[in-house]
Subunit: 532 residues, 2 copies
């Protein structure tokens, strides 16, 4: 394997940035020591260069056939795999995540790229529709109209701290935007800049191999919010993808809405993912549910958007038994290295606030060993009554890390009020037997208004990358509850409908040509054709 | 036919509003006299009642089967038809539009309702997707995930002044929202309140006949912006549809974006719909194009969102001949009654500004006869050179009415720069032979970035209601260029994706059940099934 040097410079199309202003180093959270090299913030000129290049690239890239774009995505996957241990080691060092997780996430990232390649090679995703002409219609002839989803333009993607690969440089936002036909500019996360650079070089190489226009991809480094704000407000940029905090996401939404030309921001800002344990199910499966919840709540040191932060448990004997078992498992869980000191401090602050809240009982508040790195996340479990939870809004705030709040309810009315009280969430989970579902049938329509994905008798972590996945949910879980950032539906965030009226055949996209040359699913004069 | 009294009161669910505060009367633009009765603004309490009722209705209405919602839409069409001449006469009186137009627009409105009924009866529109489970997958079992488009919640629709039926009370926004499963609150346009009330009573009656929940539909009257603002900022409201001015649309966008829970606003704000005349086509069809453009530019007294406001004509002999012919036709066109005095004044102001702009030549500026109503719109034609048009932004502002600006270009570079200079537009039209398209191939990708619909060798007015129509376009033509307000794609403005993981069969929507009981098009494990 060739050695890949990390040089700390932004990548603008096929070139390295030359500006060497402010710089930061990555931090190894397991030691809290800095790691070489330094990463230099892009200058505002370089932001402009990347945006202008993307804009020029769009003219060429948006006209590439689906097959050509698919080849690019597949080649990115190949080039990421070719990074091998260099990538695994750097990502582990920058994030404190174990080898298995990084390798798994690399597989998810390349799998995702290939899934989007398959999707666009087919072409049915673009919703081709044809209404043919009728020149004899009275009083007015009917024209020929054909429409299809076409790419929006250059997209800015903000990498996430908690998924250095699958939600970062070549993650779901990038894969779906490139699949749609949009050039991408990634703003690297300062928590894993080396990983970002390695993956960006893989994309750069894939673009060269598959003859994509310069500027189809750029990667910019930048501490603070200067580079990000400059990107979001640049007139060439037509959409934004983001995964991160509510404050980060909402400030991007604001920036985008006051531009001379407002643009869509797809911000996935997380949630507490309520888990509802219904009585018959809990009484039958108490131990199994406690074990499953423990795994879900501590997986990745709780640093998942779908972490089950709030669990609604009935105040009865089965509920008490469940709490006891879950508490024991959480107590017995050793503290783990968190992604970075900022996240760790925020987690500790959240835990402290709950510990000091007299409406809340602290059931577990493990402390990390005194001589350990100060980037450890120790498990925590809190308990609150339904009334307390309803009274104190702060109890439904997300605490990013391995902390869980158990809310004890007594009556169905309590439970329904608790559910009604939640803001938008990525997921809502029910543990329920058929009888439970009948007895608590009013819970479902409430949940359906509040979440993007309803999970039955399982746990919210583990977001399957597939055609039907919805990793979205009403505000404030995301900025736009109509969309998903995982799964192939994510591509439609970066497209818009265009209609062609009485167009010459040669000028139509292949997807809309007479005779259905791609053999795809189309809506032709009100009839779907092309499926099996 | 039974007599239908217009009582001037807002309709809140199955009741009339009781508040009688401020009131306005409609104006007959052909006489500029007021028409009885008075219409009373809804109080802020009544706004709250309508919103709360809609919210309660959503719980029931969103669970109605597609078949039941389709029956409701079909019954609305039937009840509108039953209004017969009462509706035609009132609409003519309030808008100054001729009988043929009102009858045609009624047909378009009922046709649109029935098209959406057909769409949802099929169910394929909701993008049902299924990924089945694989319990044996390693390292983790694969869950069963199914997703579908589900309704957003109560929708507020602002009626348009220029389409008293097709873009108003039971127009495209209302039809698509009701089809999606969303209750609707219409804010009536004060330009045709009687028409609004008649149609609203038809909807109310249809809701009763088809057993829809109270609050599935309400109609509120209100002058100024108080009622509209209260509706858009009400927490129960989840989306907004609007057709009207840029200032109206952008102020709704702002209101919606600063809500505690931001909601989508679909505002269609109009455009100048550039028409490009390429040389070979113009030289061969000069007279035909002049005749077609004249019809398109004066149709409905130019009061269409798709009115061709700016025409790009080459500065050569054919161009001159075309201009001469078009000018003569526009000169010979009598002034017509416009929709209301506000629109007429805005049109006259726009025309005056161009007349006084020394970068512009006035070719036609007909005046209405001195003894006529002051609500007449007379045709106007202006001419500007490409450089002047590029220098003066105001020349590309929409002038709503029968005025056309001809921009004369000399070189291809001129033309491309003119196209590049346009903001987002609903439509872009090309008159071109195959040779023209080859010689000016660079024009197409620019147009494609700027517009929602590209029209070849025809004119932009006449928006076909069909599956493939796109009546949208990048900002500022609309607030959200990813959407359309005409055609069946409009339904997806009012839905969001929801996924069900490992759901019991009985709790799934029929569209997602095993065995495809509705026989619709679905994406099952990556394969489309169900089409012919």
């Amino acid at each position: 394997m060739e050695t890949i040097n990390i040089n700390g410079l932004s990548i603008i199309g096929s070139s390295d940035a030359i500006h060497k202003g402010e710089s930061v180093k990555a931090i190894d959270p397991s030691t809290t020591h800095e790691i070489d090299p330094s990463f230099f913030s892009a200058s505002s000129e370089e932001v402009g260069q990347a945006a202008t290049l993307a804009s020029q690239a769009f003219l060429i890239y948006s006209k590439k056939s689906s097959k050509e774009r698919a080849a690019f995505l597949n080649e990115i996957a190949t080039q990421i795999e070719a990074l091998g241990d260099t990538l695994t080691e750097r990502a582990m060092q920058e994030t404190g995540l174990p080898e298995g997780r990084i390798k798994g996430e690399t597989g998810r990232t390349t799998g995702q790229l290939r899934l989007f390649a398959t999707l666009i090679e087919d072409g049915s995703w673009s919703q081709p529709r044809i209404d043919t002409a009728n020149p004899d219609r009275a009083p007015l002839p009917k024209p020929d109209i054909r429409s299809i989803q076409r790419p929006l333009g250059p997209v800015v993607v903000f990498a996430a701290s908690n998924f250095p690969l699958a939600f970062s440089t070549a993650g779901g936002d990038t894969a779906s935007a490139l699949a749609a036909g949009c050039p991408v500019i990634v703003k690297a996360h300062s928590s894993h800049p080396g990983t970002a650079e390695l993956v960006a070089r893989a994309i750069q190489k894939a673009a060269q191999i598959t003859d994509m226009p310069e500027g189809v991809f750029s990667l910019l480094f930048g501490g603070g919010r200067t580079v990000g704000s400059a990107l979001v407000t640049h007139p060439a940029v037509k959409a934004v993808g983001f995964t991160g905090s509510t404050s980060g996401g909402t400030s991007l939404m604001k920036l985008a809405s006051v531009r001379p030309e407002p643009i869509p921001v797809y911000a996935e800002m997380g949630s507490v993912n309520p888990v509802v344990l219904l009585p018959e199910s809990l009484s039958a499966n108490s131990e199994k549910i406690a074990a499953g919840l423990h795994i879900s709540a501590t997986m990745g040191v709780g640093q998942f958007c779908t972490n089950p932060g709030v669990v609604l448990v009935k105040k009865d004997e089965s509920g008490d038994a469940f709490v006891e078992s879950f508490v024991q498992k959480m107590k017995d869980t050793a503290a783990q290295v968190m992604l970075n000191p900022t996240i760790q401090r925020a987690y500790c602050d959240g835990v402290s606030q709950l510990k000091n809240n007299d409406k809340v009982r602290t059931l577990v508040a493990n402390a990390a060993a005194a001589d350990a790195t100060d980037c450890l996340g120790a498990t925590a479990v809190f308990e609150a009554d339904a009334t307390a939870f309803l009274e104190d809004e702060s109890l439904s705030d997300e605490i990013f890390g391995p902390g869980t709040t158990l809310v004890r309810w007594e009556s169905k009315a309590d439970l329904l009020q608790l559910l009604e009280n939640f803001e938008g969430q990525l997921t809502g989970t029910l543990h329920a037997t058929d009888t439970d579902l009948e007895n608590y049938s009013e819970a479902l329509p409430i949940l359906e208004r509040k979440v993007g994905r309803i999970v039955y008798n399982a746990f919210p972590t583990g977001v399957e990358v597939c055609h039907s996945m919805v990793h979205g949910g009403p505000y404030p879980a995301t900025s736009d509850g109509r969309s998903t950032s995982v799964g192939t539906h994510a591509i439609s965030r970066f497209t818009r409908l265009i209609a062609y009226q009485d167009s010459p055949q040669t000028l139509l996209p292949d997807e809309l040509k007479d005779g259905n040359p791609l053999g795809i699913v189309r809506l032709e004069d009100g009839q779907y054709v092309g499926a099996s």
